[in-house]
Amino acid sequence: MLKAEILLAALANGLLTGAVYALIALGLTLVYGVLHIINFAHGATLTAAMFAVYVAHQTFGIDPYLAIPLLAPLFFGLGYSLQRWVIGPASHGDDGNILLVTLGLSIVIENALLAVFRSDTRSIEVPYGFEVVELGPLILSLPKVIAFAGAFAVAGLLWLVIARSDIGKAIRAVAKEKTGAALCGIPVGHVYAVTFGIGAACLAVAACLLMPTFLVNPRIGNAFVLVAFTIVVLGGMGSIGGALAGGLIIGVVESLSGLYLGESLGQIGIFLIFLVVLLFRPTGLFGARA
């Protein structure tokens, strides 16, 4: 048996990382819940956002956290425009086409990043990068604690928007009953694009929260996407609360399996969960619908 403190530390670190995973999964699950498609460009968009944070810092000297109010609206606009004027028109309303278009888009984004930044791995240095927070017996990385709080703040804000605002209600209406929504005068194409924009904005925030402790290269998004898919499946496709809970669970599983099986095997635990959930509970732990 390992010492209790080590176990506790692994647990805490798992929760901290898991919250950011949840944030990455939020956009994926939201887009799935409303458009009923899987956005294969999700990982590439995250990579692009991380490079945006990198460039903002290296070229303009903007701190990653201060970049949030810049990059979140920028990526909202990008996501909105992509869905409204590229993915939507190119897919002619056919879900199979949307899938292929997002897949194609991810290849374009990845290659564009490769062309500009080559395959080097880069990171940024921030003055608080190694600061810690002491919490009883735990010593936690400050940027990770900030990322945890930030991810929860975004999830809470998103929940509020979806539950209370007019556009949030329109999003839920389109998700459940597209025709009924159109006949209420809700512009379905606009709602789809807003949903995509929200997903991309969540990724931008995640990128800002990740970069103080993470590295970036043109393929980094892929590493997160399997994790995000697992969370979406675990939490029940389309469920915001499910994504949050799923993210925390996956973070802890990864951390604990890393502890017991070694760093390089950490992700195997995640993949096993992915398979087991798909086999035995395809609607997810929290998914109600069959």
Binding site: R172, C184, I186
Partner: protein
């Protein structure tokens, strides 16, 4: 108010409606009758912009609308309450109604809600209940109430009597008459011929995607051709 001229519409280039012409004036209740599958719902979809017609013209208050998208048509006051209700089952009655007023100024929402609750007191009592838990009759009232929230000038009701008991249909149709008395036009799309002709002023009968019969409701009631149009299917 509504003029449909030589309308051809269908799915994937295959016409369902051929050369359909009809008119509705303000304040009228006009029944559009026809057996299952003749193209009644297709007509409604073309009117509300859910499908693009393949030919012909649709004028609403003098404006051509056959190329407009649903939100624009809703804003003009042509409201389609669809077959099967298509309410939002996981949202409350109140949220459903609020979404009905999505295209209208927020400032008028409260007044419109009051108006709908006055017309359908049951919806008022159940405003917090999830729409999916309502009975069939209540769901139909909700669908109509949601349509009224959009401040219609022409309200299209697609088979509102579907799945309701004859007594409920009677209550519902009495309400339709009351709504029409407020000054808006109603296009009542039905298979329920007898009860529809009781409240409609005029009617069109569709057969095989064409208008087979048209005229005042009283005349159609006595017309043996009406029965033939149905039994012929």
């Amino acid at each position: 108010m509504l003029e449909v001229e030589a309308l051809t519409a269908g799915y994937g280039g295959i016409p369902v409606l051929r050369d359909v012409s009809l008119t509705i004036d303000s304040g009228e209740i006009v029944a559009v009758l026809g057996a299952n599958g003749v193209g009644k719902t297709t007509l409604n979809r073309a009117l509300s912009g859910l499908i693009r017609p393949d030919g012909g013209a649709i004028r609403f208050e003098g404006t051509r609308i056959e190329r407009l998208a649903p939100p624009e048509i809703v804003r003009m006051g042509l409201i389609h309450v669809p077959e099967g209700r298509k309410i939002f089952p996981t949202m409350s009655v109140r949220e459903n109604l609020e979404l009905g007023g999505y295209a209208r100024a927020r400032t008028r929402r409260a007044a419109n809600l009051d108006r709908v609750f006055a017309l359908f007191p049951r919806l008022g009592e159940r405003r917090r209940q999830l729409a999916g838990t309502l009975s069939g009759g209540e769901q139909q009232m909700l669908a109509i109430g949601r349509g009224l929230m959009a401040e219609p000038r022409l309200l299209i009701l697609d088979e509102p009597s579907l799945g309701l008991s004859p007594r409920l249909v009677e209550d519902l149709f009495a309400l339709v008459v009351r709504i029409a008395a407020e000054g808006l036009a109603i296009m009542l799309v039905e298979q329920n011929v007898v009860q529809s002709l009781e409240i409609a002023g005029r009617a069109y009968v569709l057969e095989n995607g064409r208008v087979a019969l048209a005229g005042p409701a009283a005349a159609l009631r006595a017309d043996p051709a009406l029965e033939r149009a149905y039994l012929g299917m």
